[in-house]
Amino acid sequence: MKAPKIKLMEVCGTHTMAIARAGIKKLLPDTVELTVELVSGPGCPVCVCSQSDIDRAVEVSRIKDVIMTTFGDMMRVPGRRGSLEDMKRKGSDVRVVYSSLDALNIAKGNPQKKVVFMGIGFETTSPTIAATILEAKKQKIRNFFVLSNFKLIFPALEALAGSKKNKIDGFICPGHVSVITGSIPYEKVAKRYKKPSVITGFETIDILKGIERLINQIKNREYKVEIAYKRAVKKEGNPTARKILGSVFEASDSEWRGLGIIKKSGLKLRKKYRDFGAETRFKVKIPKTRKMRGCACGEVIQGIKSPRDCKLFKKTCTPQNPVGPCMVSSEGSCAAYYKYG
């Protein structure tokens, strides 16, 4: 074995939370023969939303006759003017939904209003929004609009795998993204950048199994994609979902917090569906992005820094007064470190 110290990245924020809740880090080997360290990755859609994406949603929510809908995850993310929750307090109509279909139903029930859905998420979530847009088109609902802040994980994964700064030995790959994408897109990352990659489920036992397989690969100097979440993930994924996604959206360049603009890592509506785009329908002025002083979210997302290395952590940045998105998102790594120690 090359080095006794192994650094693994859990790409997905839901893994970050599950690891913290089960106390897995305390059980990992920490001896002279082997040390295993886990760092969190960019797989928290709230954390990687750029400041201007959040500001745009906040501005749109202030427009007369707009009902802003979103997942609960987005409610408290601070924009320059405040969060969506703050706007609600100030009189904007902002509603938390469990599904984008709920937002569509709100549009149906309020034909005199414009219902905007603040869409976030990765390949797991974006096909559900695509299906909702298809449904809106079919039912000729013209007061439903989507802010497309979706991200594609593979371009970001490649950027991280190719980076020299983070020294990651292997990836715990997101189980539920893989339900849609299948395992094939990971092959490139594993082969080209020599990063063992194991698709992992979310039960405690799943995560332990994923870590074990990664350690074995590293020991044997293998760089494979393995599925340790076979009950849900197939090699070919869910082609129907991908087809629907591809029919409504196309890849576009996108800005990630901490990682900057990554080519073809976001989604925009295809021409045929542009009428559902909130970006074109509502022209709003967005304050210029200003980097928050001292906030290390960017480095945390890349696995370069631990939340504890951030000067603001637990001092000026707390879940009640979050500075960066890794603290505000409940699955953000800073929030997980804060909550579970």
């Binding site: 997905c12 797989g43 928290c44 979902a241």
Partner: protein
Amino acid sequence: MCLAVPAKIKSIDKKEALVDFGGVQKKISLGILDGVKIGDYVLVHAGFAIGKVKKAEAEDTLKALDELKEVSKYESA
């Protein structure tokens, strides 16, 4: 990244299904998943079935967890 919870399909009406999460039922969309039938287990995310779950392997996982609990019990004893 994405919470998704397994549920059993109770009934299907075109592209909509009634699922049971275990004491909690809800209507969800089958809009992005093909080939689902009554009795199947699916993963539900944001109101949609996103993929099927194989039951036998799910049971294996639960068994493994029980074994792990046994081990940790003895270790801490």
